[in-house]
Amino acid sequence: MTQSTYRIDPVKDLPYAREFMATPVGLHSPGLQRVLNVLRGEPLAGKYVLIEITPHKRWRLARLTGERGQPVPVLDTVFTDLETAEREVFMLRWKDHVGQDLVLA
């Protein structure tokens, strides 16, 4: 599987963050996809995933351990729609990568 070494620039890439917040799933601009290749390409250890707790209705945030066979630790955050989950995880990863909260304004 491919991965990216691109370093997200919190200023130059901010328009792409806005693009993601407007349309988290679908056809992305090349600039947004370059950012997503970083954020979605994180290694399995600590990778955010969703666990479906009520089919089609509720999903819980969790993080993989990256260790084969180990239980998936769940977090407290629960989503009731998938696009909100995409946005939330984007913001969490953005902060991890650029060291500051994503401020869209």
Binding site: M1, V25, V72, L82
Partner: protein
Amino acid sequence: MLTLTGYSDRLYCRPGDTVQFKVNCESAPEYHAEIVRIICGDTNPDGPGVKEVVVDTPVNGVHPGRPQNIAAGSFVEVPNRLVLEKLESFSVQAYVWPTTPAKGVQGLITKWSDSKGFALIVDNSGSVALKTGDGAQDSVVSVGKPMQGRRWYRVGAKFDAASRTLSVFQVPLHPVPGIDDAGVVEARLEYLPRQSAGPLYFASFSGPTAVFNGKIDSPRICDRALTDVEFVAVGMPRPHPHEPYIVGAWDFSEDMGSRTAVDRSPNKLHGAIVNFPARAMTGWNWTGEEMDFKQDPSQWGAIHFHDDDIYDAGWETDFELTVPETMTSGIYAARLRAEGAEEYIPFTVGPAPGKEQRIALVLPTASYMAYGNDHLGTDGGNGELLNDILNVLTPPDLFLNEHWEYGGSLYDEHSDGSGICYSSRLRPLLQMRPKVQCLLGGFGSSKLWQFNADTHIVDWLDARGFGIDIYTDEELHYAGYSLLEPYAVVLTGSHPEYTSTEMWDAYHEHEHRGGRLMYLGGDGFYWRIAYHPDCPGIIELRRAETGVRAWAAEPGEYYQGFDGRYGGLWLRQGRAPQKLVGVGFSCQGFDLSSHYRRNSDSFKPEVAFIFSGVGDDELIGDFGLIGGGAAGLELDRAGAELGTPPNAYILASSEQHTNAYYLVPEEFLETGPALSADENPNARADLVFFETPNAGAVFAVGSIAWAGSLSSNDYDNNVSRITENVLRRFLDPSPFT
């Protein structure tokens, strides 16, 4: 976490056959079983909903529950014989290619029970060692030098009873400067080892426990302490079988498709190979000059063992159903319920002989098995990057993540990183169920894949009033064309990706003898596989050369051990999918699906019947339960250069896919930009129709998501209309031209 799991001995049957159900019930003293007919398994509230009908059978009712476990791990078991039990002095040797030398103790050649016997092992340091015991005391003598992973060694030990001296050696076949992995150690025992009365094992201890990960080639046992020269001589591929000191000389290159480890010595200490370790594997002496094991089997004398191999879970039967004549052909399941837990064990019923309908649906059960128990959401490749959406895990994913003894799929790797090349249905396949969603099913949608996705087709046929017979790939493989012969029209499932040669030939015969085929999916007829000729319910895949590969077969391991045929893509066998069904795998993406737009071919009078009731400018399938459109997940395109017949009509093509859809690797020879569907013209699905000899015909949709659009607007939509137009015309035997 799942507490109720099960499987059946048979996947398909006919009235009068008996199906045995094997159940693991961990959290309740009993469970309630009912036989149900499955019409639709999609729980999506925006879809037709789950449709199942309880069938009154004698097995319906309460059954006592009990836990049943799986002992994974492959090994060879040789029954105890006097010639082994009477050994005093002895030598053991094998060539080994360890893949997890640091894993901990692993058995290589063991005859050990009740604290006595001998065991050539990989010890905790990753070095070869010999363990011996007399029932009261035991000891381990180790070379003390860790082996390197994925490198060949000749390893062994000898014990001389008269002097009580013992020697253990480890010889790298390709020494590397600076790597200290060769050695010989000697020791004198204070006791005289006694032999156990238990079986002899290769690659494990009894249980199996301490299963070895890696290859073992040419194991030998002799009845005296050999000289160094004798060790080398006895390790050759075909040692003289009548050397008086040879007790056992196993040749894993003999009868590679079988489950027997042949001993070439006069003692004929043949072993049983358990849980299908990988055979037809390159051995220590493979030169690379030959690629086909049939040309010189002696270079393929290795078996690759894994501690997570599984063939037959071997559970006890909890109840069995003799299928009554009143159960007409369809998909059925034993539905089990116990204190909040629910499990389905699916099976199909074919028609009683002579009672065939005119339409057959062949469920792509080989593909169900290929994906069976996948760990795509928790292990291996980076699915989120591929799918461009967050991974969503469901209860089967979480259970399988913690229960590798249930085995993986052909998309997973073994614990040692080697690809899983066999998949069995004699274990619970937890995603081959109604109501289950899977990782690859697209965004925010029904997220169906394989079995459950195919219930969209069954549901549509039921809703539109078509009587059909249901078959499986496995049945088609063993029966061949004769299974299809009674039918005017044969339908595929949504993703018939894995095809044996026998299956391919059966479809080809059907097409060329006037049969009509509706290929209602995408990425079909892509990989060649083999079913085992003798062992039920197991398939083999070699991910050779190219293709969308979750792992790659090792060089020299491209030929299928089950049938000796060259494995990999059908494209590489001169049978690209386009030759069979007009279209072949071109691209994949797993976020949003899209639609088709009609091409000029669709307005020709010869194909007017297909578009009756469909407007000239209508987008086809711009709706649906799978990613929101009929063109999605995995898409196939036509291509004359790949074999699409010149009489084919390219009726419509998909468009406006997201940039998460990428060409498959075999679609380009050199890397470069513009590989995604928002730019590349070959990343698309084509809707195709063509005639075949003797008034036969093929209709292909080239998209997995097509089936998910059939039910929209209460089955009144252009995907449903086109499918029905074709099916009704295909039932009319009159020629097309």
